[in-house]
Each structure stands twice: as structure tokens, then as C-alpha cells.
């Protein structure tokens, strides 16, 4: 599903964020990416979504070679992904419902289909009773669940989450992880970057460990 082949990421100032990454994530697999802050976790995820380009090497996502993708094709790659951003990127000028509907509008669904799917996604993360609320009124855990609903509403095959449990207390974190597991169980490929040890200890999933841009074996 996702393949990194000799991927390097070097920034113009000479800083090398990722060095010679080689790994494959199979379809339907659940994988954690871990490492200290600055180890290159976020950079790795950004390369998958073509938010950044690798300096060299090749990245394949769902049979598309991401680093050779034309600019006009990038949106379509991103549509096959569901991304939960580290800084959440919630739009505070609209309701919970409207936030979750955005990916469907981009895809171009009919109104009735959109409404049904938005409610299904909100139901899945337990926010159905908050659909008319504005994000500012949500708790930290609820905001995170809103992000998950927005990431999964268009039913992507790959779910990517960057530090989804940061700043959440243990109970909330567990709850969020349960949601991810339920998507994994229905066949979604799940990729989570985290440095939260309790989560890693609880899980039997494969762990890719990064240290200063190198993959530790």
C-alpha cells in the first residue's frame, strides 16, 4: 500500500530530516511511527500526502509514484487518504457538521448522500449530538474526534494520524485509539505517528522507530 524506497529528505539549510528510508506498509496493516520530536515522524507523513517532496528516492502510495505525481494530480492522491493533522486544522467559522462535510463537498457528492455520510461519521466518533455545535465549544478530546470524523467521512483506504493523542489525558487517548482500531478492523490501512509510550505498549501493531531521520531496526 505504501512503499518508501531509499528516501532522503534534506532541507535547503542542509538539515537532513530523513535518511535512506526503506520500508513497506501492506494494505490493511496498522503501523505506528515513533521517535523523539524532531526524529522526522511528521516529515515522513507529509511525504506520503505530497505536502513535501523527497530530495531523492521514491515513494509509492496505492500504486501511484508520489514523488513523480503531476501537481494537478496531487488533490486526487490526497482524496485517497484520510489525514488527522497534528495542529488539527479545524475551521472555527463553521459548525461541526460543516467541518466534516468539507471533504465530501470537495469530492462532489449529492446533498442527501453528504448528509447521511456526515451523520454516519459523527456517529462513529460519538459526536452526533454535537453536529450543530461550533468547534470552539468542544473539549480537547471532542475536537480530536471531530478531526477523525473529517478524515474518514469520505471512506479513505489509508488513514494517517500525526500525534492524535497529544495533549489528551489517558482515558481520552484510549478512546481515540479504540476508534482507530475499529477502522483497522474494517480493512483500513492505519498509520499513526506518536511518541506516547502507553499507546505503544498497549498495541501489538508493527512499530517503525525513527531516530534522527534513520529507521531503527
Amino acid at each position: 500500500m505504501i512503499t518508501f524506497d531509499k528516501v532522503y529528505k534534506r532541507y535547503p539549510d542542509g538539515y537532513e530530516a530523513l535518511t535512506n528510508l526503506i520500508f513497506t506498509i501492506d494494505a490493511g496493516e496498522m503501523v505506528f511511527i515513533t521517535g523523539h520530536s524532531g526524529a522526522g515522524k511528521s516529515t515522513l507523513l507529509k511525504l506520503i500526502a505530497a505536502i513535501e517532496k523527497p530530495t531523492s528516492g521514491s515513494i509509492t502510495v496505492s500504486d501511484q509514484i508520489v514523488n513523480k505525481l503531476k501537481k494537478s494530480m496531487v488533490p486526487f492522491l490526497r482524496r485517497s487518504l484520510g489525514i488527522i493533522f497534528q495542529d488539527q486544522k479545524i475551521l472555527y467559522d463553521r459548525t461541526v457538521f460543516a467541518n466534516v462535510m468539507l471533504p465530501l463537498q470537495i469530492h462532489g457528492f449529492e446533498k442527501s448522500v453528504m448528509e447521511r455520510r456526515v451523520r454516519a461519521a459523527l456517529d462513529k466518533v460519538g459526536l452526533l449530538n454535537k453536529e450543530k455545535a461550533y468547534p470552539i465549544t468542544l473539549s480537547g478530546g471532542e475536537k480530536q474526534r471531530l478531526c477523525i470524523a473529517r478524515a474518514v467521512v469520505h471512506r479513505p483506504l489509508i488513514l494517517i494520524a500525526d500525534e492524535p493523542t497529544a495533549n489528551l489525558d489517558v482515558a481520552y487517548a484510549q478512546n481515540i485509539m479504540d476508534v482507530f482500531r475499529s477502522f483497522h478492523q474494517v480493512g483500513v490501512t492505519v498509520l499513526i505517528a506518536t511518541h506516547d509510550q502507553t499507546i505503544l505498549n498497549d498495541s501489538t501493531a508493527r512499530i517503525l522507530s525513527l531516530n534522527q531521520g534513520h529507521l531503527m531496526v
Binding site: A49, I51, S72, P75, F76, L77, R78, R79, L81, I83, F85, K89, L91, D93, L102, P103, Q105, I106, H107, G108, F109, E110, K111, R150
Partner: protein
Amino acid sequence: MRVWISQHWQALGVTAKQFFFKPVSNFLSVAVIGIAFSFPLGIYTLLDNLQSFSDHFVHSPQISLFLEIDATESDIENINSRLESFDGITSFQFVSNEIALAQLQHESGMGDIALHLKKNPLPHAFIIHTQHMPPDKLEENRLTLQQWPAVSYVQVDSDWTRKVHAFVKLGRVAVIMLSSLLGVALVIVIFNTIRLQILTKQEEIEVSKLIGATDRFIRRPFLYFGALQGVVGALIAWIIIAVGAQKINDNLTELSQLYELSLRLNPLSLFQVLLLGVVAGFLGWLGARLSVAQHLSQIEPK
């Protein structure tokens, strides 16, 4: 196809919502466009009317033939029969001095003065309509008529139409220049409006790009917004002119009675209004398109 329509429909909905979400500021910028455009539009309307008014005289020139004040019945008969056999005349009409005086009393508001006159000071006259002919031919005919017995004075009433034509021609050039300049101004105004809008929606644009929105999708509401502003601006300009023309017509009625002419300012035709809307809409779209091309690429998600 259905998806495509629904996406456009959604973009239009977003646009409309935005337009009415901030009615005051949007109305102000649209009003500026409308008022600016009412200026060349008003001049155009006036010229258009002036042209069709003078065209009427160019196509059937009118000559007034005044007889000597002491002309007799036989003189009138003589002129009448001469006119009947004169080449190039489409119609003519005898206006006796009594009729002329009665008209003067009735229509010119000088009734009192006329009543106190002991003798009718007006001459008998013929109003002659000729076929369309070049000005020098018209002048030649005038001189011929002038030579006839008992004729005091012959006047080509439509001489002024040539001057009007030259004036209208000049006016058209001015209108074209003025509207071109204001067209450019419209593009600039919308360019700036859209720039501000993009700035306030920076976050939304960034998120949309991150979750797979194409440039086309992001562009669409802005383009609609620009076009909508242009069209509404044109609509305001048209309303200003329509109301103005109505007001002028109220006053023209009186004037036209005084001059025995049917003077009326005709409003723009439906076709002209539609054309105005399409052009303004296109210019708005163009301003938005340029603005979007300039500013959207600067917003790249990180």
C-alpha cells in the same frame, strides 16, 4: 454531470451566502461599481436617443416654406399645385395663419399676447417632407422654392441634424473611452476585493488543499463572486439610469408640448441591458480570475 452541476450549485450557494452575509460592505463596493458605470451608461442612453431622434429627420428632411404676409388665396393655390408636381417631395401640408395662431395660443402659453393682437402677424406656411437626400441637394431645392412667387422665406428645418450627428459621433468616442477606463477600474476593484477575500479565507483554502481540493474547486466561489459583483453593479447602474430617464421624461413631456415634438427618452432595450450584464459579469470574472491566479498559489499547506 450531476456531480458537476451540484458542485457548481454549491459554489454558487456559498457565493450568495457570502454576498448577503456582509450586506453593507458588499453593497458599498457594488454601489461604487454601479455609480461609476451609470456615468457612461447615461451618456450612452442620451446619445442613443439623440441619434434616433435626429435619424428621424435625416431620413425624412423637413422644409418650412413661409409665404409673404399679404399672400392671396390664388398665391396659395399656385404654390400648392407647384408642390404637387415637384420632384422629391413625399408629402406636404398647408398651415394657414389662423391655425398657426391658434396653435401658438394653445400650446406656447402666449395666448394672452395673441388675444391682444389686432391683426394676425403670422404668415401662411407649408410644411414639406422630402425624400432622403444629401444636404447639398436639399439646399438646391431650398433655393428653387425660394424663387417662387409670394414666397417670403424657405428654411431647411433638419439642418441641425448634421451637427447633431457629428456631435453624437464624437460623444460615442468619448463613451467608448470612458467605459474602457471604467472597465479596467472594475477589473481592478474586483481584483482587490477578491484579494481581501482570499486573505480572510486563507485557513479554509489551506485545509481544502490538504484534503484534496483541486485548484478549480477552490477558485470557483471566488470567480462566481467576482462575476456576481459585476452583474449586480451593472444592475445598479441600469436602475440609476432607468430612474433618471423616468425623471427626465416627466419634464420632457412639457418641453415636447412646447416644441410640438414627441420628445421621449427611451430606456435601454432588453438586449442592451443583457449585454451590459454579460460584459460587467465577464469583467468581474476576469478581475477575480487574475486575483485568484495571483494569490491562491501563495497559499501552500505546510
